[in-house]
């Protein structure tokens, strides 16, 4: 038996994959757990009797049972959960309504709206937060006030400028397309015959909607709620920009500030808390809803569905949706562009508009000599870094995904195959900022023959590859399932060795299927902030992390201008996907 097993190439590939996954996923996790139990040099400031490298439960005690617990753990946890709840409820309401209107009613311009509706999700999430600041920032915290105060002269209260409300509002605008996509997929996959049977039996439209359609999409509804919730739980940009200035911390911003304040162990523990919560949630989603989902009768084909006439509300609904799209897409972009043209951060008047921040030569008269972003060497370098990073990560994790798909599909039914599939899914459970923390903890020092990778481009690329494996692995499995084992067997019968069959048959066929996955990763990495924030150094910084730094330092024009550049690149990527695959990358 052993001999038979060992000869199969997919088994060898499985072991190689597991070995790599061990290094890029499993070991970082255990290393982080370990790091939370030892003294660090920087802990000398916190306690007496510090013995760097020795075992201690000091940090766990400090987080879970000390005077700090309330500020470091309880409040951020509460803020994380309450904002995530708010975001997922609001996003689901907007996304659900939109999905129903677009897929099931006679709303005018449904197709166009369906296409535009995912745009808010394409642009990086923190851009909605930056746009909010541009609009509603007040001058109480310090720094320049926003457009609202400039136009009305009224300084918005803190609860409008910062904290719970703006985080929930701006992030709902970012996340509703996600629920929209999940729900419209569920709605279009309902066999219309189920509804027609109800109609034949004499049921009214509203009754059918209530008793047949709605119950059928409940699992998808719950699932999208939970997925949105688990994602919202780990968001970093928005709570950082909109929360931290008023000391409204969430778990993810606490992780960041603990690590940057050189209490890494505390950051690691909070990251573990965040990982534990999101894994639990996703586990329940798989266990409970995963099984109930089965009664959504997905047949893969679009059914002809009867559209519900909206009657009098047809046009009011359209107007509402257009308003929503203006608020969610157009306004943030216009605000950002406007911001980039203002000479002084709080002066939005037309006579003071300038292109200095785009093409300025960088004299001594403004912005501490920084040149406009199109002439600025550091920014051009960051652009190059971003593109290089996104390309590297998407190509490598795409290939990785093809191999995962091959190993998993060929080994279907074996424990090895399951193990590969599950291990490659693990990064999904870890929120970006926590994943960055894992890598920070593992690769700061040299481990055996591996030199300290901190500060290298390789490390940043590695974290992006690892974090995206769940998506490319999925894509790889799906495309491999479509290929069918007979195509490979036919090449073996024709006398070809495994390598030739893989190169000539499997690879060309799966690359076709993997290309949208590849662009998805490109876009994701292009707008990635929280994952790489802890790992980049001035040498390796990207557009996103530069936005972050400029925003921190108050150069809002620069940060906005870079954001605009990111949007442009990402939208081009999204359009390219549609060209190539006739579907969205998201």
């Amino acid at each position: 038996m052993f001999r038979a097993t060992i000869r199969k190439p997919h088994v060898i590939i499985s072991y190689i994959l597991l070995f790599i996954l061990l290094f890029i996923v499993v070991i970082p996790f255990f290393r982080m757990v370990w790091d939370s139990f030892i003294w660090h040099f920087t802990d000398i400031r916190l306690a007496r009797g510090v013995n760097p490298g020795a075992f201690t439960v000091f940090h766990w005690k400090r987080i879970f049972h000390s005077k700090l617990t309330r500020n470091v753990l309880i409040e951020p946890l509460f803020h994380s959960i309450s904002t995530a709840l708010g975001i997922s409820i609001l996003a689901m309401t907007i996304g659900g309504m939109l999905a129903w209107l677009v897929t099931r009613t006679d709303l005018p311009f449904r197709k166009t709206i369906g296409t535009l509706a995912i745009l808010p999700y394409v642009i990086p999430s923190y851009i909605h937060a930056l746009a909010w600041l541009t609009l509603f920032k007040n001058d109480r915290i310090g720094g320049a006030a926003g457009l609202f105060q400039f136009l009305t002269g009224v300084s918005p209260p803190n609860w409008i400028s910062y904290g719970f409300l703006p985080i929930v509002f701006s992030m709902s605008l970012h996340y509703f397309p996600y629920t929209y996509l999940l729900l419209s997929a569920a709605l279009t996959s309902i066999d219309s015959r189920l509804e027609e049977s109800g109609e034949i039996l004499g049921a009214r439209r509203s009754y059918i909607l209530r008793r047949i359609t709605f119950p059928l999409v409940i699992p998808a509804l719950l699932s999208s709620f939970i997925l949105t919730f688990s994602r919202a739980l780990g968001i970093f940009g928005a709570p950082y920009f909109l929360g931290s200035p008023v000391r409204y911390f969430t778990l993810s911003t606490q992780i960041y500030s603990n690590i940057t304040n050189r209490v890494p162990a505390a950051g690691y523990i909070l990251a573990l808390v965040l990982i534990a919560i999101s894994s639990t949630i996703i586990y329940f989603n798989q266990k409970i809803i995963g099984t109930r989902k089965s009664f959504v009768t997905i047949a893969g084909k679009g059914f002809r569905t009867q559209l519900t006439p909206l009657g009098k509300v047809r046009y009011p609904a359209l107007v509402l949706i257009i308003l929503l799209l203006i608020i969610a897409v157009l306004t943030p972009i216009i605000l950002l562009v406007w911001q980039t043209l203002t000479l002084y951060p709080d002066d939005y008047s037309l006579k003071h508009l300038t292109l200095l921040y785009w093409i300025g030569r960088g004299g001594t008269e403004f912005a501490e000599g920084e040149a406009g972003i199109l002439r600025n060497g550091a920014i051009l370098k960051a652009t190059w870094n971003s593109i290089k990073l996104a390309l590297t990560a998407s190509i490598l994790s795409g290939f990785f995904g093809i191999f995962i798909g091959y190993a998993v599909v060929k080994g279907r039914g074996t424990k090895l195959s399951k193990l590969v599939e599950q291990t490659s899914f693990l990064p999904y459970l870890v929120p970006g900022i926590a994943f960055g923390a894992l890598y920070l903890s593992l690769f700061t020092n040299r481990i055996g023959p591996i030199p300290a990778l901190y500060g290298t481009f390789f490390l940043v690329a590695l974290v992006c590859i690892a974090k995206n494996l769940p998506f490319t692995g999925r894509a790889g499995i799906t495309s491999m399932l479509q290929i069918g084992s007979e195509l490979e067997e036919a090449s073996e019968i024709a006398g070809a060795r495994w390598g030739r069959g893989f190169l000539k048959i499997i690879l060309p066929l799966s690359i076709n299927g993997a290309i949208s996955g590849f662009i998805l990763v490109f876009i994701t990495v292009m707008r990635e902030l929280s994952l790489i924030l802890l790992l980049v150094t001035p040498e390796t910084r990207t557009l996103t992390t530069m936005t972050f730094r400029y925003q921190e330092q108050g150069y809002t024009q620069f940060s906005s201008a870079i954001s605009v550049m990111i949007i442009v690149i990402v939208v081009i990527g999204e359009l390219a996907t549609r060209r190539l695959t006739r579907k969205s990358a998201i």
Binding site: R7, E486, A490, S491, E492, I493, G495, P508
Partner: protein, 375 residues
Amino acid sequence: MADKVVEVRNLTKRFGDVIAVNDISFSIDEKDFLILLGPSGCGKTTILRMIAGLEEPTSGEIYLRGKLVYSSEKSIFVPARERGVGLVFQSYALWPHMTVFENIAFGLRVKHLDNTTIKQKVREGLAYMQLEEMENRYPQEMSGGQQQRVALARMLVSEPEVFLMDEPLSNLDAKLRLEMRAEIKNIHFQTGATTVYVTHDQVEALTMANKIAVMNHGRIEQFDHPKAVYKHPATLFVADFIGSPTINKIKGKIDAEGSGGKVKVSFGNFSILTDYAAGGVFGRDKEVVAAVRPENISVVGERGKGSPENVFSCEVNTVLPAGPETILKLKLGEIGLNLLITQEAEYRKGERVNVYIPPEAVLLFDSETGKLMEK
């Protein structure tokens, strides 16, 4: 004696706890057309894949032209690419990213033939399968029948020692299936290539094969010529599986001797005369199944005076006319009888008809073992 082209000895394949193929042995000679026939899940495709080298057996031996290609004891496993067999898959397995030409040329390129030879051979194959105009098409641009031809051409040009075919016609519609059946038979006639062919379609098996292995639950129930399989099914399973409509089965007991020292079988209030000689294993009250092919029963007019034996009065239950022939479903007491008749006659439901079952058409199977009893 020349080596057998394919020989399989004590071949067994387990998938976990399931025994897919259970200790099977058989062999075929040059120019044989063997059909592995059986219901889905009987292990026929697994045998084919083990011969091809795509599946590793659990135990046993496989020889191709006298060469040992698999042996569990000697730890020999020759991979598929070195066995020199050709295989046509059920799904055809044409590579969708290659043109018809490239699909057919693949095996030749693997053998490092020069381009002129490849071109020539592919063109020959295309011409042979009447696909001349198609070489630059992609498989998905062709009809199912054309794809099938490409798959056959791909196998033919590599000139394999054995042709293996895994239900190649099951994805075609009925009319095309008839055409391709003739075509494959013709290819076999012209090339004389030894062929192992898997199907669950008994008509396909009866029309194409010169040897049939009827399989059930991982075992071969009968390995014989098509006619023998039809006329003398070794087991009740074979009798039941082959023939359409299915053979009539009457459960009964051996009764007192009938006329001329022949066995009589009684069931319900009736009894039926056979031409099995009484005595020996045919003891009184032994439980047997009497089986009669539907086409061997005939409708007779008035109850014949000369031979009242084996004439039964039945009630017409269903009439299924199908062009040249008609299937009659009759009721004889509690039992249903199928008849296949070619006479042009009208029957009505509920009508009573007399049917005659010739004694020599009755096959007796042992109820316990399910085996055909010797005359």
